[in-house]
């Protein structure tokens, strides 16, 4: 070794080195605009697909529990022991209500009626509607988001409140209005309020009315009580009160959150929705990996001599790794940003329609998809990274 120092020692300014070589990496990527766009498009498409599908999935599940969400004042839901979901109630005897009120710890209990009914639209067609009947006095169970009219208007004779989507279904092309009349089960019903209820799972039209009217608007036989909504005198004892109601009456009594979970669980277990959405999500990930992986691999293969030249010059494998990861990070970040913006745009636009109202891009979904986008790009670049790592620098001397 000659005197004067180690020949491998070289004055390095690591910060500049990293930034400089990362800039080179990005310039290499931008230099092939077609592939750069292809990579970004692949991630954007996957992000859009994942965000849109997962958000709609959660939106649908949320819709399944919309009636429960719209009655937040009730802590306890009492029902027939066989009931698994709010969508399929089994009628209880009317006497149940008084017995629940007599259970120790119950502050109040009110009847709750839920049934499906048919409404004839102005075009003469029949449409499905969800009929909600609430306690005649307290009117507990009606959402407090009134667009027209007030809660008190529901105490008027033949009074019903409907949701905006239902109004547009019944009176297409017309401005929201009150005072119109409908025929329900050969009986007159007058729209006194427009209430912004949460979008429902099974019908676009939701009708709110007093319990006594609801039973007349539908033909549900002798027993008409769907649920009893109750509240514990002491909120901290809600679970114990629910257990007490169940034990004393032989009925099912659960806390609101539990019933919500069960309703969503019922949808997950008995419908093809999770499998269908799961398949689309899986396809989104696979398509992303395929597009990004193939394009990135092609990009690396076409630049393999340049990578070999960099290696020959003395660029270490670690720096090549950093350069490749910088390219991947750029593609992931920009692709994800575009996909997220497209998904947000979709929900902002499509969410205006009655069919898709309530669906929105959830922050949790955005975060989850960001992680997935990162995984997609990392998986897709792994093969290419191997090529960069193992490229023989002596390649540069071959013609």
């Amino acid at each position: 070794m000659p005197p004067g120092g180690d020949l491998c020692e070289y004055e390095r300014l690591s910060t500049f080195q990293e930034i400089g070589m990362l800039v080179v990496a990005l310039r290499m990527l931008f230099g092939d605009a077609t592939k750069c766009l292809g990579l970004v498009f692949g991630v954007a498409l996957s992000t859009l697909l994942l965000c849109q599908q997962v958000s709609i999935f959660f939106g649908l599940l949320s819709r399944a529990a919309s009636v429960i969400d719209d009655a937040p004042e009730a802590d306890i839901w009492v029902m027939d022991p066989a009931v698994k979901t709010i969508e399929v109630p089994y009628p209880l005897r009317d006497t149940v209500l008084q017995r629940v009120r007599g259970v120790e710890g119950v502050a109040w209990a009110v009847p709750f009626f839920k049934a499906s009914t048919q409404v004839r639209t102005r075009r003469g067609t029949l449409d499905n509607a969800t009929m909600i009947g609430v306690d005649d006095v307290s009117l507990a169970g009606v959402p407090d988001r009134f667009l027209l009219g007030t809660l008190d208007d529901l105490t008027l004779p033949d009074a019903i409140a409907i949701n905006p989507a239902g109004f547009r279904l019944l009176f297409p092309g017309e401005e929201l209005d009150v005072g119109r009349e409908l025929e329900l089960n050969d009986r007159r019903a007058r729209i006194v309020a427009i209430v912004d209820s949460s979008p429902a799972f099974s019908a676009n039209l939701t009708i709110y009315t007093r319990y006594s009217l609801a039973t007349r608007y539908t033909n549900n036989g002798r027993n008409t009580l769907s649920f009893v909504l109750a509240k514990a005198a002491d909120p901290s004892t809600t679970a114990a009160v629910a257990d007490r109601i169940a034990a004393e009456m032989g009925l099912k009594a659960v806390e609101r959150a539990t019933f919500r979970r069960e309703t969503i669980g019922y949808i997950l277990e008995t419908t093809g929705i999770p499998a269908s959405f799961g398949t689309v999500v899986l396809l989104g990930v696979l398509i992303g990996i395929a597009i990004v992986g193939l394009t990135f691999n092609q990009f690396v293969m076409e630049n393999i001599r340049q990578y070999a030249a960099l290696k020959a010059i003395g660029v270490r494998n670690g720096w090549l790794l950093a350069m490749t990861l910088a390219q991947a990070a750029f593609v992931a970040t920009v692709g994800y940003g575009i996909g997220l913006a497209a998904a947000a745009g979709f929900f902002a636009t499509a969410g205006q329609s009655d069919a898709l109202r309530g669906f929105r891009l959830l922050p949790e979904v955005a975060v989850g998809v960001a992680v997935l986008a990162g995984v997609i790009v990392l998986l897709a670049t792994t093969v290419s990274l191997r090529r960069v790592f193992f490229v023989d620098p002596a390649t540069v001397f071959r013609g």
């Binding site: 491998c8 004055e11 080195q17 030249a309 620098p393």
Partner: protein, 247 residues
């Protein structure tokens, strides 16, 4: 340049290869490319390595350039035993001390002439600004001052080769290894490139090794090593002692 490589006195041995062996697997057979090759290059000289295709020239300069390992023998480059070093240490050695000029130029198509030429400095940790300034000065010496910001695709073959030369020299390496530097050029451009190489790359403490088939440029050689079948067959040149002439 202020990197820590030590100076080699003029005339001192810059590269010494003794008994270098290298074989490659080709299917089920093993092809011996280098068969106990001895090779020497001195500081301040332009050493040519010539011979027919497949005689082992490229393999030998790959080993000297520390990008391919020898199976046997000793390889000392600028006093550094490249056979004993591995991976990152070899990369650091190349970055600090060697410059490469490839037959295919291997410029990055997305970088301008100045950016391409600055790569060894940027890779060594210098700022891109510093690197491009140094590259611009060198490119100006090579007659490319009006083409600093042009992309490789906008340059002629001769101009691209000059950018490649600038990239090989920008960090003032002690040894420049050139693989067929004039193969892609016409006679006039090839002559110009060789004049530039001699003028810019060669210094009393620096060596240039050139692998070539191009007999038109032999006039630029100080020493010519004729290689055949994996061995140095004959050496000719100004500074060759009679005892060295036949390896």
């Amino acid at each position: 340049m202020d990197h820590a490589a030590t100076n080699t006195p003029p005339g001192a041995i810059a590269v010494r290869c003794v008994g270098v062996e290298k074989s490659f697997a080709a299917g089920e057979t093993n092809v011996r490319v280098l068969r106990g090759t001895d090779f020497t290059a001195r500081a301040g000289e332009m050493t040519f390595l010539v011979g027919p295709s497949g005689c082992g020239k490229t393999t030998l300069i790959s080993i000297i350039g520390a990008i391919l390992s020898a199976d046997a023998g000793s390889v000392e480059v600028l006093g550094f035993d490249v056979r004993r070093a591995r991976g990152g240490r070899l990369a650091d050695f190349r970055l600090a001390n060697l410059g490469f000029i490839f037959q295919q130029f291997n410029l990055l198509p997305a970088l301008s002439a100045a950016e391409n030429a600055s790569l060894p400095l940027v890779a060594a940790g210098r700022s891109t600004r510093f690197g491009e300034r140094a590259a611009a000065a060198l490119l100006a010496r090579l007659g490319l001052e009006k083409h600093l910001h042009k992309m490789p695709a906008q340059l002629s073959g001769g101009q691209q080769q000059r950018v490649a030369i600038a990239r090989a020299l920008v960090h003032a390496p002690r040894l420049v290894i050139c693989d067929e530097p004039t193969a892609s050029l016409d006679a006039e451009s090839g002559h110009t490139v060789m004049e530039l190489l001699r003028e810019v790359a060669l210094a009393p403490d620096r060596s240039v090794i050139i692998v070539t088939h191009d007999t038109r440029i032999f006039e630029f050689a100080d020493v010519i090593h004729h290689m055949s079948d994996g061995r140095i067959e004959r050496i000719e040149g100004k500074s060759i002692a009679p005892s060295e002439a036949h390896a």
